[in-house]
C-alpha cells in the first residue's frame, strides 16, 4: 500500500511543477512546433485536394473528436466503453431532429447536442462509476445495441429506419469556399476547440484525478480522490465529445439513420483509439486517419479485410506498443528532434 502511494506521488510530480506564463497555449505542448506544422498543413490541404478527399479528411476530423472523448475515458480514465457510438448517435440525432423539426440554424445544434450528451453522460455515469472494468464494458455494449431499435421505434421524431435527410450547411458567400471546404473548416474548428478543451481538462484537477485513478484506484481513493465523482465527470465529458462529433457528422453527411450507428461504430471507435494511441495527444488524429482510410483501402482486397486488419492490429498493439501509432510516431519524432538539435 505505502509503496503504491509513493509511486503515485512520483508520477504526479511533473504535473504539479512550474507552469509557463502563456498557460492557455500549453495544449500545444509538448513539442509545440509539430502541432503548428500539423495545423498549417490542415489549413492548406482543402485547397489542394479534390472534393472527395476533402470530405474524407472532414470525416477524419469528426472521428478524431469522438476519439478524443473516448481517449479521455479509456486512455486517461482507464475505463472501458464499448458503447461510445451511442453518444455519437445521440449527438447526431439531436442535431438532425432540431434541423428537421424546427429548422434550427445548424450552428445552434452543436451546443445543444453537446449539452444533451453531457447530461446523458452524467446520468449514465452515475451507475457507471459503480461498475468496475469489464462490467462497464458490458453495460455500455448493451446500451449501444439497445439504441438502434430504440431509434427505429420513435419513428415520428427520428424518421424510423428511413432516417432523416437534411440539407447541409452552406458556406457564406463572403468566404468564397465550396461546400466541401466549408464543412471541412467547420469540422476543423470543432476539432481544434475539442483538443483545447481536452488539454485544459487534463491540466485541471480532473485530469490529475483521472490519472491517479487509472494508475492506482485504491491508492487514489486513499489519497482522497473522490472516485465516483471524477469517474462520472470523465464519462460525461467523454460523452459530450462523442456527441459533438455526432453533431458535426450530421452536418457533413446530411443524413442520419439507425443503421449508421450500430454497435459496429462503437467497436470501430474503440479500435481507432487503441491503434491510434491510448492516452496520447496525437492518438485521436492518427486513430481517425486509421478508421477512415484503412477500411477504404482494405475493402478492395476483401469485404472482411478491414476487420481482419483492425482485429490483428488491436491485438498486436496491445502486445508491443500499448501507446499505439502515436507512441511509435512519438519515438520517431523524438529521434528526429534530436538529430535536428545536433546540427
Amino acid at each position: 500500500m505505502s509503496e503504491a502511494i509513493e509511486t503515485r506521488e512520483k508520477s504526479t510530480a511533473p504535473a504539479s511543477g512550474p507552469r509557463p506564463a502563456r498557460s492557455w497555449l500549453r495544449f500545444l505542448e509538448p513539442r509545440g512546433h509539430w502541432v503548428w506544422i500539423a495545423l498549417a498543413i490542415a489549413l492548406i490541404l482543402p485547397f489542394q485536394l479534390v472534393p472527395f478527399r476533402v470530405f474524407q479528411l472532414t470525416m477524419v476530423l469528426v472521428y478524431a473528436v469522438a476519439l478524443l472523448g473516448l481517449n479521455l475515458l479509456v486512455g486517461h480514465g482507464g475505463q472501458i466503453s464499448l458503447g461510445h457510438g451511442a453518444f455519437f448517435a445521440v449527438g447526431a440525432y439531436t442535431a438532425a431532429i432540431m434541423m428537421d423539426r424546427w429548422d434550427t440554424p445548424y450552428p445552434w445544434t452543436l451546443p445543444v447536442a453537446a449539452a444533451v450528451t453531457f447530461v446523458l453522460g452524467l446520468a449514465l455515469g452515475v451507475p457507471a462509476a459503480r461498475l468496475h472494468g469489464l462490467y462497464l464494458a458490458l453495460v455500455t455494449l448493451a446500451i449501444a445495441i439497445f439504441l438502434v431499435p430504440l431509434l427505429k421505434r420513435f419513428e415520428d421524431v427520428t424518421g424510423g429506419s428511413m432516417g432523416l435527410t437534411l440539407s447541409k450547411p452552406q458556406p457564406p458567400s463572403w468566404t468564397g469556399l465550396a461546400e466541401d471546404q466549408w464543412l471541412y473548416f467547420l469540422a476543423l474548428a470543432v476539432a481544434v476547440a475539442a483538443f483545447a478543451l481536452v488539454a485544459g481538462l487534463l491540466r485541471s484537477r480532473v485530469g490529475r484525478a483521472l490519472h491517479a485513478l487509472r494508475d492506482n484506484e485504491i491508492a487514489a481513493e486513499v489519497m482522497g480522490v473522490r472516485l465516483a465523482f471524477y469517474k462520472t465527470l470523465a464519462f460525461a465529458w467523454s460523452a459530450l465529445l462523442a456527441g459533438a462529433a455526432g453533431c458535426v457528422y450530421t452536418w457533413v453527411i446530411g443524413f442520419v439513420s439507425p443503421d449508421s450507428f450500430t454497435v459496429n461504430l462503437s467497436i470501430t471507435l474503440l479500435a481507432g483509439i487503441v491503434v491510434g494511441g491510448l492516452g496520447s495527444q496525437a492518438g485521436p488524429v492518427l486513430g481517425g486517419l486509421f478508421v477512415m482510410f484503412v477500411p477504404s483501402f482494405a475493402q478492395d482486397i476483401n469485404q472482411g479485410a478491414p476487420g481482419v486488419i483492425f482485429g490483428l492490429l488491436i491485438i498486436v498493439v496491445m502486445y508491443v506498443a500499448p501507446t499505439g501509432l502515436a507512441g511509435l510516431a512519438g519515438r520517431a519524432v523524438r529521434s528526429f528532434d534530436r538529430t535536428l538539435r545536433k546540427e
Binding site: I80, L131, A142, I143, I145, L150, L270, A305, L313, M318
Partner: protein, 293 residues
C-alpha cells in the same frame, strides 16, 4: 393461460441457447477472470466449420464431433497464442484484446465464407408435441436436452475426474495449484478449449434458428452476458438458470408488455444487467464479488 404457458415454453427454448453461450463465458471467467467478448464469434466460427463439413456431404452426427474437437484445439491455441502474452495484464488490456479477437474472427469468417446468409440444417425433426393447447417444438426440446447434457458432462468432469479437480483448484487458488505441481498454463488453455467446445455447441444450435452469417451471434452475446451476470459470472449452474430466466423474461416482456413489443426486447438484457450489477453484483449463484481486486 395456454398462451401464457406457450410463451414460457418459447422463452425456455431461447433461454437454453443463451444458457449454452453463457456457460462458455462462465467457464473462461472462472479460470482466468476474463470475460471473453469474442466468445460468440468463436461459436459462430465453429458453426461455419460444421457447415463446411455438412456442405461437403458429411452426416451431421459425424460432423458434430469433428467440429467440437477442432473447436477444442482452436480454443486452446487461442489461449496459448493470443491471451498468454497479456496474462496478468490490467483488465482494460485483456478486454481490449478479446474485443480485437472479436473483430478479427468476425471478419475472418466473412472473408472465408462470405457475408451472405447460409442455410444450416436443423438436426432436430420438425413438428411438435402438443398438450392442452400448448405445443412444444421438437427442436426446442432438443436444444433443452443438449444444454442439459452439456451441463451434466461438465458436472461429471469437474466433480469426478482428476483433471476436473485440478481445474477447480486453479480456479480457486492458482498460486497454490502451481505449488502442488499443476501446470496452470495448460489448465487455462484447457479452460479456453472447453469454453470453445461448449460455445461450438451453442453456435451449431443457433445456426439453424437464425441462419448462418458472421454477425449471427452478435445478438445472442448480449443475452448470454445478461444470463451470466444474473446467474453469477463464476457459476456454471447460475449461467444455465440465468439463461433460462433471461429467455423467459425476454419472451414474456415482448409478448405482454406493449411498450416493449418484439422490437425493443433487446432492452431486457440491458435492464437485467444493470439491475443485477447495482443490486446484487455477485449474481444469484456467484460467490466472488464483482471487483477482483
Amino acid at each position: 393461460m395456454a398462451d401464457f404457458i406457450q410463451q414460457i415454453v418459447v422463452g425456455l427454448g431461447s433461454g437454453a441457447i443463451y444458457a449454452s453461450l453463457a456457460l462458455a463465458l462462465v467457464l473462461i471467467y472462472r479460470f482466468t477472470g476474463i470475460v471473453n467478448f469474442a466468445q460468440g464469434e468463436l461459436a459462430m466460427f465453429s458453426a461455419y466449420i460444421a457447415w463446411t463439413f455438412l456442405d461437403a456431404g458429411v452426416p451431421f452426427w459425424i460432423a458434430l464431433p469433428i467440429t467440437l474437437a477442432i473447436s477444442f484445439v482452436g480454443g486452446m491455441l487461442i489461449e496459448r497464442i493470443v491471451i498468454r502474452p497479456v496474462e496478468g495484464a490490467p483488465e482494460l488490456t485483456i478486454v481490449i484484446v478479446t474485443v480485437g479477437l472479436f473483430i478479427f474472427v468476425n471478419a475472418a469468417a466473412g472473408w472465408i465464407w462470405s457475408f451472405l446468409i447460409k442455410d444450416f440444417p436443423n438436426p432436430f425433426p420438425d413438428g411438435a408435441l402438443r398438450a392442452g393447447g400448448v405445443s412444444v417444438g421438437y427442436s426446442t426440446l432438443g436444444v433443452l436436452a443438449v444444454v442439459g447434457v452439456v451441463m451434466g458432462l461438465l458436472y461429471l468432469l469437474f466433480r469426478h475426474t482428476k483433471i476436473g479437480l485440478g481445474m477447480r483448484a486453479v480456479a480457486t487458488n492458482p498460486e497454490s495449484a502451481r505449488l502442488v505441481g499443476i501446470r496452470v498454463g495448460w489448465v487455462l488453455a484447457l479452460g479456453w478449449g472447453l469454453a470453445a467446445t461448449v460455445g461450438a455447441v451453442s453456435g451449431i444450435m443457433v445456426a439453424p434458428l437464425l441462419f448462418l452469417e458472421p454477425n449471427m451471434m452478435g445478438g445472442v452475446l448480449i443475452y448470454a452476458f445478461a444470463a451470466a451476470t444474473l446467474g453469477g459470472m463464476d457459476s456454471p449452474v447460475g449461467a444455465v438458470v440465468g439463461g433460462l430466466i433471461v429467455g423467459v423474461a425476454e419472451t414474456l416482456a415482448g409478448a405482454y408488455v406493449d411498450v416493449i413489443g418484439s422490437d425493443l426486447k433487446v432492452g431486457v438484457p440491458l435492464a437485467i444487467i444493470l439491475v443485477v450489477l447495482l443490486l446484487r453484483p455477485q449474481g444469484l449463484f456467484g460467490k466472488a464479488a464483482v471487483e477482483r481486486a
